[in-house]
Structures are given as C-alpha cells and as structure tokens.
C-alpha cells in the first residue's frame, strides 16, 4: 500500500522505474514458461516456418539445400526429413492430429528421418526466399534443433519485452494503457505465439507499438518527442511490412486510426487557413486512395447482393467461432486438434468486459465511434477470408484486437483523482481471471505435448513422455510461469489504479 500511495503523491520516479523494470522481468519469465510449453514444430504451419528459417540463408550443410525447379526461376527448399509434416511417422510433427499422442515421438529417430534432406514442398522465386524475420531467426538456427528452438524462442521473447520496454519507457504517455492492453488482450494466442518460432511473434509485438508511436506523434505537443515517435513509427513500418502478408493491412488500419483519433477535426476546420485545409484534404485523399481504399473495396466486395445468404450464414456461424478463438476457444494453440477449455475463454471474455465496464462512461462518443469502426473489422476481415474459403482463426486478427484495445484504453479520460481503473474490487477480479486463464491455458498446452490428452491430472511431471533435455521440470515451469504472470498482472493493475494525469 505504501508504494501505491507514494506514487499517487508523486513518489520518486526511481520507485516507478523499478516497478516497470520488475514488470518487464516478470513478463519475460512468464513468457519463458510458454517457450518451454511446446515442442519446436508446435506453432501453426510450423513446417513452413521452420523450412523458411532453415533455408533463409541459402544452402547450409545438413540444414538446407536449394534445388532449382525445372524450367523456372523458382527454387524448392530441401530440409531435414524430420521437418516434413507428411513424409514420415517420426520427426517434429509426429503427434499432429492425434490428441492422445504426446510429443515423445519427436525423439524417436528412425533410419530414414535422421538427417536426409528432402523436398519440403515449399517453392519460391529465387529472390523471395527470405524476409527480415526469417533471415534474422535463421542466424540463430543450427543443426542442433533443440538449441535452435530455445535460441529463437528466447530471442523473440526478449524482442517483445525489450521493444515494448524501451518504447514505453520513452512514450510515458501511453505506458499503462499499452501494458494493460497487452495484459488483457494477448490471451493464450498472444503469449503462445510471442514465445514460439512464428512470424506472428514479431507482428504481435510491433503492430500495437506502431499504433502507440503514431498516437504519441499525434498527441504530443513538443516537437522533439513528436518527431522521435514518427521516426519510430516509420522504422516499425519498414520492419513489419513484409513479415506477414497481412501486416501491411494492419499498418494502414493503425495509421488511419491514429489520424482519426489524434486530429481535432473541428479545430482543424475552423482555425487553419484555407490553403492548409486544401493541402490537408489532398493528403487525406491520397492516404485513403493509396492505402485504405484497396482494403475497403476488398472488404465491401464481399457484401454483394448475390452473396447475402452466404454472408448471413458465415456472420452468424463461422465468424463468431473465429472471434471466440481469439480467446483460445474452438481449436487449440499450435496443434489445433486440442482446444483449450471454456474456462480459459470465459476468463478472457470476462476480463475484457470488466475493463470495458469500469471505463465505458469515460470514453467520448467520437472515440467510441472510432473503436466501433475498428471493431467491425474484427468481423469483416474473417468474413472476407471465409467467403474466399481461406481458413481463418483468431490469431490472424489478434494484432487488430490489440490495437482496438489500445485505442479504447487511450480514449478513457483519466485524472490524478480518477485513474484508468478506479475500483479495487474490479482490479482484484481482473487479476484473478487473467491469472487463472493464463495458468489453465499453459497447463493444458503443456499437457497436450507432455503426455497427450489421454492422461489427466494436475501433475505434469507424472508419467511424462516428452520434455526438453535441459531446463526445469514441467511443474516448475508451470508454477513459476503462473506466479510470474500473476505478479505481472498485479503490478500492471496497481499502476492502472494509481495512474496520474494522462
């Protein structure tokens, strides 16, 4: 209690800095538990991403061979047979599709799967083999897959915690808002993907920070922080745009959101001289037609009159499943054969509604409208994908969901007397729900791979069939991960309850 009061009364910034350092360290610990929770190939499309990482630097002895496809300028990636999802009963994907099978089979090495390089089925034009994500992570990969897995996973976690810490240290204005959005919004998908070998690890890290940087650039009054924030946003744009195919869409959505959220249109229309209004309007038009219009056209094309029945059907059946998957429902993380329990989903949704419940009255109608329009994209984007029969899941829209949360929380009016979260009870319930959800999701994910789901019980150490050759036991990882998350949540929510004027 003392430290809370100290901060409220304007305590020395050292206390606050130490608190944030503690949050960063504990978040790292909590995510590290997730890095241990699943084997190397567990993330979605693991075979694709592993092949891309192993081959990002071209031919590598025992790791990759690029084979030219006949009569074309394309190459096929040849990777160790153990990376091949369909070519053998062993290797890194042996348990996929069978919830009762543990990942123990990944350590069974038969004569044919040891090291032979086989066609991965991944064909690329010669000059498009790699992206920044694949290239960077491939430098951490070696022939020793277990060491490679740890190196890449912990680097991704460090990247998330480091990038968020550094930027939020500088962008003091939205520090608590962003931390709370990450805490409530990441959910099982976010924590799982950040600490895995998957390009989404970087997009989930960078896209929300891109929005925060833009918001700072829009809201700060002093020139230096504005320019700095804009430069950071520009840097994130260049890093993120090619990580995933959909990254650019999210960058554009963030850009438009930040402009709509940050510009005081009434003042701009009344105060600015006419020539500035014309230039501004021109810039907005260019921005819209160059960046946003293709996305709008793409989304709207789904709603043709001939497809109304299909749209209705998908909106009421498949899209809600995707939204529920955002909270871990319907199908599992990584190995999609094993969904998380409804308790995890309940905790995620309840936490979101608690945050909205305790802040809704302090958001202006204009900002509600912005958040509402952003949120409609959470429905429209999966709908568009479903109409094209492209499989979709919650993880695809997770960056957008996080950006919605940041926009919403940044819109909550706060003061020294009225912090972001006012009620101690709400704060405590939130800590319980969030920690419970994270803990159960971590336990169920570990259970899936350690024994398969045919074994039940709380003790993950018992009858284990798979585990890493290094590191603490499963129960230690689960316990420390749960405690680290719980304390992180407590500290962030304490900060949200004693936040000073925005």
């Amino acid at each position: 209690m003392k430290s809370l009061r100290q901060i409220q009364k304007g305590a020395p910034s050292g206390v606050s800095r130490f608190r944030w350092f503690l949050i960063g360290t504990l978040a790292f610990l909590s995510l590290s538990a997730w890095a241990f929770a699943s084997p190397i190939g567990a993330p979605p499309d693991g075979d694709f991403h592993l092949a891309s990482i192993w081959c990002a630097q071209g031919d590598r002895l025992g790791m990759c061979k690029l084979e030219k496809v006949k009569d074309s300028s394309q190459v096929e990636l040849l990777t160790p047979r153990t990376f091949s999802r369909y070519q053998n009963p062993f290797g890194h994907f042996c348990y996929v599709g069978n919830p009762g099978a543990s990942a123990g089979c990944t350590n069974v090495v038969d004569e044919t799967s040891v090291t032979e390089l086989v066609a991965s089925g991944r064909v690329f034009p010669v000059d498009q083999i790699s992206t920044l994500f694949y290239d960077s992570t491939s430098r951490l990969a070696s022939r020793d897959t277990e060491s490679s897995a740890f190196r890449i996973r912990f680097t991704n976690i460090l990247f998330f915690v480091g990038a968020a810490s550094i930027l939020l240290l500088v962008f003091k204005r939205f520090r608590t808002v962003t931390a709370l959005a990450f805490l409530v919004g990441l959910g099982p998908w976010g924590t799982f993907l950040i600490s895995s070998i998957h390009p989404s690890s970087w997009t989930i890290t960078l896209l929300p920070l891109f929005l925060v940087a833009l918001m700072v650039a829009m809201k700060e009054k002093a020139t230096t922080p504005r320019v700095f924030a804009a430069l950071v946003a520009l840097l994130i744009w260049f890093i993120t745009q090619d990580i995933r195919n959909d990254s650019r869409y999210f960058l554009i959505i963030a850009l438009v959101t930040a402009v709509a959220w940050g510009v005081n249109f009434r003042r701009e229309i009344i105060v600015r001289p006419t020539w500035q209004k014309v230039i501004g309007l021109g810039l907005l038009s260019v921005l819209y037609f160059q960046l946003l219009h293709p996305l709008v056209r793409n989304v709207l094309s789904a709603v043709g009159s001939s497809q109304i029945d299909k749209v209705f059907n998908l909106t009421t059946t498949k899209v809600p499943l995707t939204l529920m998957n955002l909270f871990g429902g319907n199908y599992g993380l990584g190995s999609s054969d094993t969904p998380l329990s409804d308790l995890v989903v309940f905790c995620g949704i309840a936490s979101l509604f608690l945050v909205i419940y305790s802040t809704a009255q302090r958001v202006s109608r204009r900002n509600w409208l912005i958040v509402f329009l952003m949120s409609t994209l959470l429905i429209l984007l999966p709908l568009r994908a479903d109409l094209d029969d492209v499989g979709t899941s919650g993880r695809y829209i997770l960056p957008l969901y996080l950006m919605c949360l940041i926009t919403y929380l940044a819109s909550v009016e706060t003061s020294a007397e009225r912090p972001l979260i006012t009620s101690k009870t709400v704060s405590r319930i939130l800590i319980c729900f969030l920690t419970l959800g994270n803990s159960i999701a971590l336990h169920q994910t570990m259970r899936r791979y350690i024994t398969g789901v045919d074994v039940i019980g709380w003790n993950l150490n018992q009858d284990a069939e798979w585990w890493w050759t290094v590191g603490p036991s499963p129960m230690t990882i689960w316990l420390l991960g749960t405690v680290a998350f719980g304390v992180t949540a407590t500290l962030i929510l304490q900060n949200a309850r004693c936040r000073v004027n925005q």
Binding site: M1, K2, L61, G62, M63, P80, T82, G104, N107, V109, D110, E111, T112, V114, T115, E116, L117, R143, D144, T145, E146, N461, A464, E465, W466, W467, W468, T469, P472, S473, P474, M475, T476, L479, L480, V483
Partner: protein, 211 residues
Amino acid sequence: MIRSNVWRNIRIILVAVVLVFLVGRFESDFVNPNDGTKVPVGIWKVEDLKAIADEASLNSGTAQLIYSENAKVAQVDVLHDDVFQLTFMDTESFSVFTDVNNDEKYILSHDGDLFARWDDIYVDGAIGVLVGIDRDSLEKVFYPITVFSPDFDSDSKQIVYSTRNRIDTEVSIELLKLIPSGFSKKQLQLFTSVDLVDAMLIIEPVSLPES
C-alpha cells in the same frame, strides 16, 4: 504503516518459502523421459561430417574422430581362418563420432554413405575394441579387433562387419577412456564364437579423408 509493511514482508517471505519448497519437490520427483536422448545433429554423408567436424575442431582444422556403435546383441561367428563375422543386432539408428579434441559428438545416419566408404576411411581395417557382456558367463569383457567391410541392413536394424583378431593388443588411451570400468581384456580364439549383450564397438581416432 510500519505494521502493514511488516505484514507485507512476512507474506512475501512466506510465498517465497512455499515456492522454493514446491520447486524443490517438483524437481526431485521428475524423471525426464528424454534424459540421455541424443538429439540428432543431422549428418547424412561422410563429407558433410568431415566439413562440420573440421570447422568445429580445435586441432588446426582437422578433426580426430572416434567411431562408436551400440547394439543390444553382438554375435561373433567364425568365417574362415582368422576372419570372423561380427553381427550387430538391434542397433541404434545412427553411429556416433566423437571428436577427441573437444569431445563434441556427431551423429551420422546409417542410411548415409558411411558403410559404403568404410574401407576408404579405415585403410587396412579399423583398429578398435568390441565391448560387451558375455551372454553365457555374464562376464564384462572387451576384445581388441580389426574391423572392415561393414554392411548395413535397414530393415532388420543390423550391421555385419568382418573382423580379425588383433595380434598387437595394445589399446590406445583414447579408447581406454571410453571403455567402462570393470571390463577385462580378452582375445578372440580361433574357431570359437562369442555372444555379447549390450555391446559397443569403438574404433580408434581417424581423420576423415576428402571425398
């Protein structure tokens, strides 16, 4: 204020003690199913093994590698004169090469080209020891032998070597280090078969030739 601080500190210490107790309990209880599992390092061809090992070797770029092979059962049968047939049954699916310079272990697939190139690598036969437990007497023994022309059958997980008894029975220090303690030296006898269980074949260090 002071009282609340004391209570808070007591609570933190209590939680820490419980955590340490639980972690200690979990760690002592846990039997890792992957303990001792060799994570395959991914080598298929001898020339790749040479390149990788030379790159990692501390000894001016040329690795000195000891070959070892494990099998549940090993059988030594008389072929003719002083030549025996050594059959390794129920083998692991890869051979292990250990670099004497840095103790690094490399795993080479049996389905690679090791056995096809064996006689080029070990010119005049590979000098080594056959270690195991005699099936009849349960005696722990090792035999100095010379091994050549191996043949691998992937279906039956079986390797068949041709071997000769070694006249010069001196065993190098590198090999002696790899023989578990309590094993006594024996000599293959003419016209006498030997059955071993939990067998291991270890071959003296060699520099792999260029392809």
